[in-house]
Symmetry: C2
Subunit: 290 residues, 2 copies
């Protein structure tokens, strides 16, 4: 597995693949890898002849400096996992090289994709994401890039950016991986204490309860989101950031949920922010509900 | 000369050049071509094996709808000129294909490059420019792109964007071409009446007068810019948008001009907006000064 610590190293690797007519699959990450990331890597391997993973904790997408500082760093373990998966290259740029003095350019998606959900509590977050993804695409020049569905708003924004800026990359979405008890995998889960880890389970449980209510005929968005809020907030140390029913076509909040609408929520558990969503009327989230 | 009226046509042409290992030079234009554009084309031909020119009047960079509506369209003549120059391909996208319904992504350079000069009178203009240039670069994928120095702020912004977003294109700058009497060539000159055309000459004359004053020892920016304003405003039907002394390093307004600073000005002549600049201490602008 080739390690590319600079932009020039990464460009050289990409050039070699192009010259050998190998298609390039790309999985951008912030490290602290888990099975969710590895699923994306396997998907990229299926789609392309060669796979590169980037590990870069992008400072411009953190709205709270303490969140950036606390972001888990497990580089040695990450590299071992990627090696095991048969990844061909790993791009490990520094923030000094990606954001040199005088850096002044941002890519921003405006409109319905960025005026709700995580965009409200995290001002500038998605601008940071679309900017760094545009940069990574220009450096890596992949044929395919794979993003996780757990960060649904993010992958929709990246897709919009790619389409609008005519970036020659195909975006693929990898399904959300869950722990055996139903919690969506996230690098942030590492920051949960054992007690908070149990409380965090209220998020997928709440979403699944609302999904069951929907399947039983409850289509009023407010009732479904209240059901999420109540399930979360019965636990100590929790806070609800949002729970919203969204129609994917147009990415609009709706008063009444149709089949295929998304119920998305963000919660704080002991100060750790977790997000998840369920497709209403879609597959159940495998959680134990007493 | 291949005409590419769609993005797919342009991508196909680019792919052919890549497969033949030919380097691609690119000159983005809004049509209404003049000798200034053709100079950029010749420069691109010197730098690259093959040259493509785009003609697209980009709606998102016009801050005033009437300016967009009045922008000259001389397509048949443009194509004849490019054919004559031996251009290999011309990209002629429609605004419907470049900006489909739901378009929501913008590339924006912030900071000193976009808080002064043309950015003030034309809000959103440079955001429109950087966005369309990013799109064109992603479609055409040139090795080299050539921009005119007359639009100095524009080329500096494009250069900043390319550097910040790691776009794999080399930006070259072509020197300003002037009419025999000294007026900088611009597509907008076509909109000047014969009388206004004479008045327009006060712009390069004013800049050259200030340059002479600088060379004679006058380094106070306010005195130099006042000299420009007075020369312009003695003419009927003129208005001064700005006259500013800028240090290129940091793109800052300075109170006292050094060698190599730029004196830039924008004026309205009979409602037509014209811009030009001179490098203080640099070559004279060839104007007749009585």
């Amino acid at each position: 597995m080739r390690q590319c610590p600079t932009i020039a190293d990464q460009r050289a690797w990409t050039r070699e693949q192009r010259q050998a007519a190998r298609t390039i699959g790309f999985v951008p990450t912030m490290g602290a890898l888990h099975e969710g990331h590895l699923t994306l890597v396997r998907q990229a391997k299926k789609s392309c002849a060669t796979v590169v993973v980037s590990i870069f904790v992008n400072p411009t997408q953190f709205d709270r400096p303490e969140d950036f500082d606390k972001y888990p760093n497990t580089l040695a373990q990450d590299l071992a996992l990627l090696e095991q998966e048969g990844v061909d290259a790993v791009f490990l740029p520094t923030k000094e090289e990606l954001y040199p003095n005088g850096f002044a350019t941002f890519v921003e998606v405006v409109g319905p994709l960025t005026d709700k959900l995580c965009a409200i509590a995290r001002p500038g977050h998605f601008r940071g994401v679309s900017t760094v993804v545009a940069k990574l695409f220009n450096i890596v020049q992949p044929d395919v890039a794979v993003f996780g569905q757990k960060d649904l708003q993010q992958v929709l924004i990246v897709g919009r950016m790619v389409q609008d800026l005519d970036i020659p990359v195909r975006i693929e979405v990898g399904l959300t991986k869950r722990e055996p008890d139903g919690l969506a995998m996230s690098s942030r889960n590492r920051r949960l204490s054992p007690a908070a880890r149990k409380v965090a389970l209220s998020l997928p449980r709440a979403l699944e309860l609302a999904n069951r209510a929907f399947k039983s005929g409850e289509h009023t968005s407010l009732t479904l989101t209240n059901c999420v809020g109540e399930e979360i907030l019965t636990n100590e140390g929790t806070d609800l950031d949002y729970a919203d029913v969204i129609k994917l076509d147009g990415f609009k909040e709706v008063e009444f949920a149709d089949e295929g609408c998304i119920l998305a929520a963000a919660v704080f558990v002991d100060g750790v922010r977790l997000i998840d969503h369920v497709m209403l009327g879609g597959p159940s989230i495998p959680v134990i509900i007493e």
